[in-house]
């Protein structure tokens, strides 16, 4: 399923809403999650999962082609942990 198919499903279920509003709703939800993580916040959606930010320490990396050592700065990466209910549902629970 891709974004446009998700929007279509929601539009079909909500005939009282304009298509452009459904698009705006979906965009707002995903945008809000990104903005929260960009601030360093967590987004916990019980049953579905939680989005959080993990810190990766600085390290000495290596150019795999030349073998040359390069300094890699500390950085923050997005992380998703599946919620219990969804994990169980994936396994027929």
């Amino acid at each position: 399923m891709i974004r446009s198919e998700l929007i279509q499903k929601l539009a079909d279920e909500n005939p009282h809403l304009y298509q452009r509003d459904v698009e705006k709703i979906v965009n707002t939800i995903f945008e809000e999650v990104i903005e929260a993580m960009a601030r360093g916040d967590r987004v916990e959606l019980r049953g579905f999962g939680a989005f959080s930010v993990k810190k990766r320490d600085q390290r000495i990396g290596r150019n795999p082609r030349t073998g040359e050592a390069v300094a890699v700065e500390e950085k923050h990466v997005p992380f998703f942990k599946t919620g219990k209910l969804l994990r169980d549902r994936l396994n027929g629970g």
């Binding site: 499903k9 709703i25 939800i29 995903f30 999650v33 916990e44 923050h76 997005p78």
Partner: protein, 100 residues
């Protein structure tokens, strides 16, 4: 870094203030989005949200695990796990926003 935790309610508030739907309808729509994504994954589909990321289901084979405390061998059954791969846009924004 703010270190706050947002919930469904915060997402619904954003929908309420940015789209102008009632709080109730906004909450219902947030729930519908999560339900559709979950249902699609449970069917084994991949969910690709452009500029956000991709959720995919991976099949894990059975293997013999070990209780790290007792050393006892325990069978781990085959199972399906969900992985999320963030988009480049998400990675870049999260990295930029949390710098220093």
């Amino acid at each position: 870094m703010a270190d706050k935790t947002l919930t469904r309610m915060d997402l619904a508030d954003a929908v309420h203030s940015q789209v102008g739907l009632s709080r109730n309808d906004s909450a219902d729509l947030v729930e519908s989005v999560l339900t559709h994504v979950s249902d699609s994954l449970v069917k084994g589909e991949t969910v690709k949200i452009s500029s956000f990321g991709t959720f995919s289901v991976r099949e894990k084979a059975a293997r013999v695990g070990r209780n790290p405390k007792t050393g006892e061998e325990v069978p781990i059954h085959p199972r399906r796990v969900l992985t999320f791969r963030p988009s480049h846009l998400m990675k870049d924004r999260v990295a930029a926003g949390n710098k220093r």
